[in-house]
């Protein structure tokens, strides 16, 4: 199957090596760069326009950050308040410490009801726990209904970006997928492709007994979850089936329903460059007495799965404020070069690089905080003012303090330290590199014939020419006359 920006088919362990391998492949893929540039270009234009509708966008961000900070700093109180209010609305609340526990809860609800297939709307929490695999193993068919996720499911690929899952695909790629998997007459028209998915999924909505969704917010004072979407598939998922199950991370709390008047437009602006997303819904329970339709059961699963480890790091705790708008990915030069699949994580980009080491361990994932130019675009764009790029530095510092870095890195920094601490050594290195440079060129070592790990640096970079005279010497001769 054609397509661009794939994570490689070769599975490499550990994740750091997979990252290196995939990053190298994707960065050199010109089609992928073109597709991504187009998608991010239109996001950029829309974002600027939507941002312009705020009287004072910076002020709105500060107000939002303050609300989310309060929510996170008093999380246990708000979670209890949320739970009380869901109960009052007739819904059920479950708590899951791990991915496994969340999976067991969902499967047992499904099995008790004798469900054969479930309709799902887009939810990164369910991606995080690989819920679809578990459904399949249990003999229950999971059906992704968000268009992007549906395409991912047909292709057997994880989402490329946690807001726009098939950002890396062209119409042609999607046409290929539909032709191959759905055996339909080929079309490359976006509207026709969308209508094919709509038709294919209609029956699933009307026949499924269970709908599974995520949740963008847990609204404490009313005990409701808030879901934002453009297509309407989430609304169908919580309107038609008999049972609605929502899996949500514990950090998604908002204190008050009134806060949504800020968070809905803020999320739409940063997420897709819309003023408001097409559908913003609040769901607080099964159908009430006089209501004509709606599920008879409503379950919310509050999942930890590593989030309390993030909370326990006071320095990086603000990362729990994240509303998953995806803006930090869209402005990240690393994301633009290596693409979403290369991260190998549920949450890609800068925020993924901050939270993944907490969720899945610094030892295995410390390469993500290193994959950054530290330009700070992410921090600047973040609507809830998370200090993202500094946290990447904090992770690096912690990795060194825990002795998780490689011996080559330790050795080179020790040498660097020696060189910087002594005038003599510093001058010696300068003089030697001028001589070394000559041989470097003479023996074509600059053509990539250096041994690992040095070639990791020289393979894709030209060594800048070293000046024939050092600044020190120049200053001694000329400086005095200035």
């Amino acid at each position: 199957m054609s397509g661009t920006g794939h994570a490689s088919l070769t599975i490499i362990e550990p994740p750091a090596e997979q990252f290196q391998h995939d990053a190298h492949d994707v960065a050199g893929d010109l089609t992928h760069r073109r597709v991504l540039r187009k998608a991010l270009g239109s996001y950029d234009a829309a974002f600027k326009k939507a941002k312009g509708r705020f009287l004072d966008h910076d002020d709105a961000k500060r107000r939002a950050a303050r609300i989310k900070r309060d929510a996170v700093e008093h999380l246990s109180d708000y979670l209890e308040e949320f739970e009380r209010n869901v109960h009052r609305n007739g819904g059920q609340v479950h708590w899951a410490q791990t991915a496994d526990e969340a999976t067991q809860i969902i499967l047992s609800i499904a099995k008790n009801a004798g469900v054969t297939h479930v309709v799902k709307s887009k939810s990164m929490a369910t991606e995080e726990i690989h819920l679809n695999d578990s459904f399949e193993k249990a003999g229950i068919e999971p059906i992704e209904t968000d268009l992007g996720e549906y395409i991912c499911q047909l292709r057997g690929e994880p989402p490329y970006h946690f807001v726009t899952p098939v950002m890396h695909l062209t119409k042609r790629d999607i046409a290929d997928t539909f032709e191959e998997k759905l055996h339909i007459e080929r079309t490359e028209v976006a509207e026709e492709l969308t209508m094919i998915a709509r038709e294919k999924l209609r029956d699933a909505f009307t026949t499924s007994l269970m709908g599974v969704t995520g949740g963008n917010f847990l609204v404490a004072d009313v005990g409701m979850i808030a879901i934002t979407e453009n297509e309407g598939n989430a609304r169908l998922c919580f309107s038609l089936p008999d049972i609605h199950v929502a899996l949500v991370g514990i950090e998604k709390v908002l204190p008050r329903m009134a806060d949504l008047a800020l968070f809905w437009p803020l999320l739409a602006t940063s997420g897709t460059g819309q003023h408001l997303t097409c559908y913003n819904s609040l769901i607080g329970g099964p159908r009430q007495g006089a209501e004509t339709d709606g599920p008879r059961e409503f379950h919310v699963i509050l999942m930890d799965n590593g989030r309390t480890r993030l909370l326990a790091d006071p320095e990086q705790r603000d990362a729990a404020q994240c509303i998953r708008c995806g803006a930090c990915l869209n402005v990240c030069p690393i994301f633009k070069n290596v693409g979403g699949h290369t991260y190998g994580t549920t949450y890609q980009g800068p925020i993924g690089a901050v939270i993944t080491p907490h969720l899945r361990g610094l030892k295995e994932w410390k390469h993500l905080p290193y994959a950054s130019s530290l330009c700070g675009n992410c921090t600047e764009v973040c609507p809830v003012k998370i200090d993202i790029h500094h946290h990447l530095l904090h992770h690096r510092r912690n990795a060194v303090a825990q002795g998780l870095n490689t011996w080559t890195e330790r050795l080179s920094f020790q040498m660097w330290r020696l060189g910087m601490k002594s005038v003599l050594a510093y001058r010696l290195v300068g003089a030697m590199s001028r001589i070394g440079q000559f041989f470097y060129r003479l023996f074509w070592l600059d053509q990539g014939w250096l041994p690992t790990p040095i070639d990791g640096w020289t393979k894709s970079r030209d060594l800048p020419e070293i000046a024939s005279q050092s600044f020190r010497d120049w200053w001694r001769k000329e400086g005095s006359s200035l």
């Binding site: 708590w95 067991q104 968000d146 309407g232 809905w264 003023h275 769901i283 209501e291």
Partner: protein, 225 residues
Amino acid sequence: MSDASREAILNCVRRALSAPSEKPAWLGHPETPGPFFSLPEPTISACRDRFREELTSLFGEFHEAKSMADARTWLATFSQSLPPSSKILSAGGASLDPLLTGLENIVPINPAGSSVDWAKAAAGITLCESLVAESGTIAVSAAQTGRAGSILPPIHLVVATADQLVPDLDTSLARLRERYPDALPSTMSWITGPSRTGDIEKILVLGAHGPKRLLVLLLPAGSLD
């Protein structure tokens, strides 16, 4: 299993939060209270104009009826514009009766008792809680109009009255809490334009899973009381 997990998670959270975090610099910055966007004057005509402008810019359709008779004529035309023998779901209950009498293809939404395949209906008519002028948004609730009627059929027709216009989202949220002080409806949705997707190369396509067409019929204040 769940109770133990509940305690474990809450204890973990409490323990984690007992270590204080540093206050970021922006926290000291003064806030500007007040609205986030430029709002229309809080009059019916200003709100109506803004609402129409926003809704139509998102490919929604708007019709203002001067009287109930006018509204009935408009509805008859709308109904005739649909393919022959198509059904229109009414999810508005008895309050829509004065408007819908005389239309033959109307079926009340009642999935349990009805023999109509309501998933195949051509359009759904619903009431609404409020119309948000600033963003062209329509608030609907399950208490008043159910869940499926406004999302399943390919055309969604909203019947609203002018007194339901509010300047902004803030007011719309507050209104619902005032209207249902004891228990909010089980779901509420704020609808901004017809269903859409940009998943394929960011090309805008209407009618992804929800309605392709969204129409608002605005009646004079108090018409449905």
